[in-house]
């Protein structure tokens, strides 16, 4: 069956359709502006047994682990609330033996996705890590965490990581058209690679915009429509994290999460309120406004600082000039057809 032209749907439908128990799920965003509402929806739907990929886990990884969705984690950075005295859901799960984790460097993690994005089976990474415990201590990937090969050109020992092709990427961007041309700007990180390496892509965005907006700024498109399965319009979809051009990090709301995350019970209470009791982002925002007022959101709303537009225009967009003459041959269509007839060029 032909795919529908418009891929716009609700978060509930997108996660329900494309994320399955046991999947390899990658959070496309990293450190900045995460796909908070898509993450919450995964938790609300009680997805189980996920292998989660995250470049730098922040609160998104914490809540997915605390929500019992994740068996295995591939990452480079564990979020920890409150220093030595604090805690983290990842740490608690590791201590409880309910989570396995494979540690990589930022570069190695990104290289796995770049390899996957391009269809390669492995990628060369920086060999210094070979002397470290990153190389020596291995978890569920075992021998396939890294392999060492001999460079055929120099004879040098080269460190490699295997390609990653997660089943699904969830990612939040600034804007998309209804077809799924997803535009993202700011710190590019590993966002495009995470999405393009994956078999299915769910995009949430602050705004669904007209196709014409996309066509006049194709350099901002990081995921072309033909790769995208679902487009979910979620204003404030990354809150309490930030989206460049839309809103800043909500420091107060983030601190609220941070304090809660120091203990398992604290995080559970936080999730009861902000994830489970809020059936969608609107409910989450209603709760936020009822507690803190709308000033909190107004204070972090971005003021405009537009990039200079790039001119994608051409001298003309038709072979026919203003007098309806073809630009090279200087004849009208009627004259051209007459010439075809006279010269015996026509069949049929």
């Amino acid at each position: 069956m032909a795919p529908p032209a418009s891929k716009v749907m609700q978060a509930k439908e997108a996660i329900g359709t494309f994320v399955h128990d046991g999947d390899h799920l990658v959070i496309g965003n990293y450190t900045v502006g995460t796909c908070a509402e898509l993450v919450f929806e995964v938790i609300r739907q009680h997805k189980k047994g996920l292998t989660l990929y995250s470049q730098s886990g922040v609160f998104d990884v914490e809540v997915l682990v605390a929500g019992g969705c994740v068996d295995r984690l591939v990452s480079t950075y564990v979020y920890r609330a409150g220093g030595k005295e604090g805690g983290s859901a990842v740490e608690r799960a590791l201590q409880a033996g309910t989570l396995e984790m494979e540690d990589y460097t930022n570069f190695q993690y990104n290289a796995r996705l770049v390899a996957g994005m391009h269809g390669f089976t492995y990628m060369q990474v920086l060999e210094g890590a070979m002397v470290t415990d990153l190389f020596k201590k291995r978890s569920f990937l075992g021998k396939d965490k890294y392999r060492v090969i001999t460079c055929p050109y120099t004879g040098k020992q080269v460190l490699t990581v295997p390609a990653a092709n997660p089943d699904v990427c969830i990612v939040h961007v600034q804007r998309s058209d209804k077809f799924g041309n997803a535009q993202y700007w700011g710190a590019l990180g590993s966002v495009a690679a995470a999405a393009l390496a994956s078999k299915h892509i769910i995009v949430s965005c602050e705004e669904v915009v007209e196709h014409d907006i996309i066509q006049s700024s194709p350099h901002l498109t990081i995921i072309p429509a033909y790769r995208v399965d679902a487009v979910v319009e979620i204003p404030w979809g990354a809150h309490p994290t930030e989206v460049l051009g839309y809103y800043n990090l909500d420091r107060a709301a983030y601190a609220n999460f941070f304090m809660a995350d120091m203990t398992g019970d604290g995080l559970k209470n936080w999730m009861d309120e902000w994830v489970y009791a809020s059936r969608d982002r609107q409910a989450y925002l209603d709760n936020y406004i009822s507690k803190f007022g709308s000033q909190g959101l107004d204070a972090i709303r971005a003021k405009a600082y537009y990039s200079a537009p790039a001119n994608y225009g051409a001298a003309y967009t038709s072979c026919w000039d203003n007098e309806n003459r073809e630009r090279t041959m200087g004849v009208t269509l009627a004259e051209l057809e007459k010439i075809m007839e006279e010269r015996g060029l026509l069949y049929g």
Binding site: A5, M117, P218, T328, G330, L333, G348
Partner: protein, 273 residues
């Protein structure tokens, strides 16, 4: 009465019909882009048209001058790089691509590099460009040959078709199973590939072309389809589209140069007045 058409229009429209709705298509300059533009406008509105330079999802408004000609469209949906265009093909995201042919053998292997000895060429042709990698990994490749030749042995093997025929392409382990050239269009007819032996098989002749006229170009005993047909005539709306979009291609290169010269002279004379 149905509209009458030029040979060039027939060729363009015949390959345009190989593009289906929702296909992801890599287009080259000339006939393929015009075919792609027609398909998108008339029967494949959801096709994603792309050029290997990194232009994704464009709607051509005039025929492009080269494969990086963003002037030929009013914007496009996604700008990427050449490397990613090829790796997306490698990963199986490209349904159809188009390649021009200088020499072709019985099993659809292609030469676009040289005529004569490689080191002392008689004719040095462009080379691979995108051809080798696209013919390797696109799901289907449409081959077009207007000035080229059928040969027993290629002077240079640029791009892999069905290798030695039969299942040799699939068995090599180098290519996606089932990939390869799906059609060859010439000025005389349309060839497909035998599903078992993978040799070229004449499927259609263009109006006014006899079987002998096709056979005389081919240095082996040509396989001919049991149900050999005449290439269907274009529809009026297809002809109208081609003439509007690419009038210079509708009349063919020779006539374009002739009329173009006359036009250039006329403009010079007007200026002299």
């Amino acid at each position: 009465m149905a509209k009458r058409y030029t040979l060039d229009e027939l060729l363009i429209i015949t390959v345009a019909r190989e593009i289906h709705d929702h296909d992801r298509v890599i287009l080259g300059v000339g006939l393929p882009t015009t075919a792609g533009a027609m398909a998108k406008a008339l029967h494949a509105p959801h096709a994603t048209l792309m050029m290997e330079s990194g232009i994704i999802d464009f709607e051509p408004l005039v025929p492009p001058n080269h494969i990086a000609d963003a002037n030929a469209c009013r914007g496009f949906s996604s700008a990427t790089d050449l490397f990613s265009m090829f790796t997306m093909t490698y990963r199986g995201f490209v349904d159809v691509c188009f390649l021009g042919v200088a020499q072709i053998d019985k099993f659809g292997n292609i030469n676009t590099t040289v005529i004569g000895d490689y080191y002392k060429p008689k004719l040095r042709l462009p080379g691979s460009g995108g051809a080798c990698d696209f013919l390797s990994y696109a799901k289907h490749t449409i081959l077009t040959m207007r000035g080229g030749e059928f040969v027993q042995k290629l002077d240079y093997f640029t791009s892999p078709g069905y290798l030695e025929g039969g299942d040799s392409r699939d068995k090599s382990g180098l290519f996606p199973i089932g990939s390869g050239p799906s059609m060859l269009l010439t000025t005389k007819g349309v060839f497909r590939f035998d599903p078992v032996t993978k040799e070229l098989c004449l499927a259609q002749v263009h109006p006014g072309v006899s079987l002998d006229m096709v056979k005389k170009d081919i240095p082996w005993d040509l396989k001919v389809a049991q149900d050999l047909t005449v290439t269907p005539a274009p529809k009026d709306e297809e002809i109208d589209f081609i003439r509007r979009f690419a009038p210079t291609e509708a009349v063919g290169r020779k006539m374009m140069y002739e009329l173009g010269m006359i036009n250039a002279l006329r403009k010079m004379q007007e200026r002299a007045k």
